[in-house]
Symmetry: C2
Subunit: 225 residues, 2 copies
Amino acid sequence: MDGSLGAVQTGGHALPAERNLSVEYRVSRNVVRDALDLLRREGLIARIPGVGTMLKNSKMCQRLDQLEGLAESLEGYHVSVDNTVLADRQVQANALVAQKLGVAEGSDVVFVERLRIVDGTPFSLDDSYVRTDFAEALLEADLDRKDLFSLLEEFQQEALGWAEVTIEAVAADESIAEILQVQVASPLLLVQRIIYQEDGTPLDLEVIRYRADRFYLTSTLQRSK
Amino acid sequence: MDGSLGAVQTGGHALPAERNLSVEYRVSRNVVRDALDLLRREGLIARIPGVGTMLKNSKMCQRLDQLEGLAESLEGYHVSVDNTVLADRQVQANALVAQKLGVAEGSDVVFVERLRIVDGTPFSLDDSYVRTDFAEALLEADLDRKDLFSLLEEFQQEALGWAEVTIEAVAADESIAEILQVQVASPLLLVQRIIYQEDGTPLDLEVIRYRADRFYLTSTLQRSK
């Protein structure tokens, strides 16, 4: 499986400056400029004033070292993040939701389903189950534009505590494939998070399906025995 | 997507004691015993003396909080971990391997490919590219039985430092599907790790493909702004 390395991320999303590309590939500045122009017309790169030439629609990454909302994590990428709210209502917690949120089965929780769209292309489908302490405020909030984490922190007037996270790979079923605009059975990264308040109360269960061609996670692990 | 919660891990791999099952489900101890017997004959559970009745072949989990070898991570599961070495030789580093290991392209590195088998079923395919400092010892070592981390720590006589990790979902291609005994295009969890020595020297690049039906990762994330 020596070919497997194709999957290794090369990291970095800014292209070198034109003059550096010209030196590195021993071609004239005009050739570099023509090549970049082609990529720009194809929508693969974008020139950001004061930043440089950035790859567009490349696979984006979230660090697993701290708990962040999507918009926070993608701040460095110079991309647009849009949300389409697909569901936004009170539901009764099933056994699993109830267990994760520490409420009785059948209790009211707020269910929010959002399609996250990055640079115009579907990116992830985020299902959230939130304890009803802030139900009214949440159902009236601008979920199209605001990160759920920011809203929850606004409502409770303190920062969120921590999250227990699980990470799996799954195949897209028909309905998810249609929403995320991928082929049925495409690989997805499935991230589930239970968000806790500072005092240890579970506040929010999130089930997030990321298109595997658009997202990966990174982390630094210490060896300590 | 209210059905999505089927994917939430329930956690825990030991079954309650017979008397507790009997009380919980309001059936006699004999009914419980017959049911457990059936599951045991089907190979779904196993009784471990002094531990209790454990689920077998359930989806196993590795914590992302620290750097561990597979055998270390699965210690609590009472499962067998076997390795089949599929490749074990010196190769020349391609551009990506060279970049990750901080060596010149074309340099010798040791390539080790192992199929990890947990409780008799393929679990993951692990490709490792190791700097040649310990090439001779590594190629002579008992890679069938020993964790690579333990071997490297033995050779260099100090603990490994840390790892930079990326986590992605990918689809199994034909050759990987055959090795891991899954259908072509099944989802896999792809974990790539660069292992560093305490002094910051990259020592080992690992590209690991886990069967998604057998493995997930967990972590705890702090919210700190």
